[in-house]
Amino acid sequence: MPNIDLLAFLFRFPLGGCAVAVSTLAAKNSKGRLGGILLAFPAVYLATVLGLSMDFKGSDLLFATAQLSKGSFAGMAADFFCAVAASFLILRYGWKLGLILSLLLWALIAPLLYFISVCF
């Protein structure tokens, strides 16, 4: 079992939290079309990539970011299906069950797309 650096863990939590909270504030304060765009800001992805830059340097960093991005690509494609499914499921089953069902759908589609992308 690898040792998890507690300091690194504690540092990442506010990093991700702030990225999400700040993009929410920006979305709330800009009216209309810009607000809708900021709703899907890749905050978690950016925070993770920034976190990588603390662990790796030079060509290792490039390699790690490229690897991480390939996984995120499959996850984002699943995000799209999840968002479209959510807009239908929420209208049909209400927001609580609809959101849970669409997140379950994401958890199913994301690994599936990942293994498909690894095979090709």
Binding site: F13, C18, T24, A40, L68, A83, V84, S87, K96
Partner: protein, 130 residues
């Protein structure tokens, strides 16, 4: 001041959701040797889920469904952002420049896609989604 107090609980929920996903992704990175699999979690729709929860809790399901539909165009923009990161890192070999270019691509494609879907909805459905 009143607005800030209402938004505070909402912001706390987002802070916890965002922080938990990033920290969870970091833990997965330590356990799983394959970096790309941990990247899946980095694409967790944290802002969208938090927004849907808040819209559903304080408003109604129709508003929550509209938010999910609006987020789907943003997700397409995120896909183009990540493709840009992969391509730029391969060809430019510079980490910071790649991230900056990818963010610009994300903004431009999100703006364009959102504009296009609004035009489409107005023309064929007679409704304007934000």
């Amino acid at each position: 001041m009143h607005m800030i107090i209402i938004n505070f609980r909402d912001l706390c929920l987002r802070f916890i959701l965002g922080g938990a996903t990033v920290a969870g992704c970091f833990v997965l990175l330590q356990f799983i040797p394959s970096k790309s699999f941990a990247g899946l979690l980095a694409a967790f729709p944290a802002i969208m889920s938090a927004s849907v929860i808040i819209a559903g809790h304080f408003g109604n399901s129709k508003q929550a469904a509209d938010i999910a539909l609006g987020a789907s165009t943003g997700m397409l923009a995120c896909i183009s952002c990540i493709l840009t990161v992969i391509l730029c890192i391969e060809h430019l070999k510079s980490w910071s420049i790649s991230i900056i270019i990818a963010l610009l691509v994300w903004f431009l494609s999100a703006y364009l896609l959102n504009y296009l879907i609004n035009v489409f909805l107005e023309k064929y459905m007679g409704a304007v989604h934000v």
